[in-house]
Symmetry: C2
Subunit: 170 residues, 2 copies
């Protein structure tokens, strides 16, 4: 289940983010506005701008899965140098490619693994707690914030763009 909650759902949400950003680009072209204006927008002066929200969403996905599967040493590095939309889309694609390498069996020990971060001062969470309390809420936070920045600027995005396609059955 942790595989579905992270690899599968994080991949879906990053694809949704990519589509939302395309709608931002469409809006910028329509309004004859530089896409850089949207990418550097934020909702408060001391909030990370859209570029940074995208970068953190990508990192939350790749590092979350790397930590749960014990692959933190080999997680692909990104230097946070993206400025343009194509560069940001390439980063999303890079993370999607990384996530696509994982299989359900890679998560055999994910719930029990100890996860820590330098800022946690030696404390840890189990992988189960880390996924539910930290990685998942953070991933949705940054995708929603990216969405909200574009929504606030007038981009025509809606809840369906955020949720993406559903596994409906009849």
């Amino acid at each position: 289940m942790l595989y579905d909650l992270t690899v599968v759902q994080f991949s879906k949400m990053l694809k949704n983010l990519s589509v939302i950003l395309e709608k931002g680009e469409y809006f910028a072209n329509l309004k004859k506005v530089d896409m850089a204006v949207l990418l550097n927008s934020r909702l408060a002066p001391d909030q990370f701008n859209l570029i940074r929200q995208i970068q953190i969403a990508c990192d939350t996905a790749k590092i979350g899965v790397a930590r749960l599967t014990g692959n933190l040493d080999t997680v692909p590095k990104h230097d946070d140098t993206e400025i343009t939309l194509p560069e940001l889309q390439a980063r999303i694609t890079s993370v999607l490619d990384y996530l696509a390498q994982f299989k359900e069996e890679d998560f055999a020990n994910a719930a029990a693994v100890h996860v820590s971060q330098p800022r946690w001062e030696g404390k840890y969470l189990t992988g189960y707690e880390f996924a539910i309390e930290h990685a998942i809420p953070n991933l949705y936070f940054h995708i929603t914030t990216a969405y909200a920045i574009l929504r606030h600027n007038g981009v025509d995005v809606g809840k369906k763009d955020y949720l993406g396609p559903m596994s409906y059955k009849s």
Copy 2:
């Protein structure tokens, strides 16, 4: 695990939302601004305002859990008449009380249950899919949007308020 992802984590996030709203009230008092101004704020003219974001977050939690556990017939009703912050806090408390009645064993069939909504035109999701693809992303979406509306208005809230306390171990 669906119990932890919904009952436990949704309750935690609603409590975090309650604290975030208290910070909004503190800000309104400090700035001598009517709290109604914040509660009626939105990030775009065609977006739901803060009141509605809180109501939907509450409904996503209560209806999500009711659907997964087969209790949709007895879920408490709320008439969306809240105008003031105390009324909204009371609604959050009411949903927290409802969620607190559930136990892990109530979720024995949750993954397999068929979930549908009138707007899905007869299609359904399994409970497992509904939780992961619909209820969880929606809950975080509306909590983050409520947070973003207050953040945009200058309220001093941060990521820690959104995530809430972690189960750190040493």
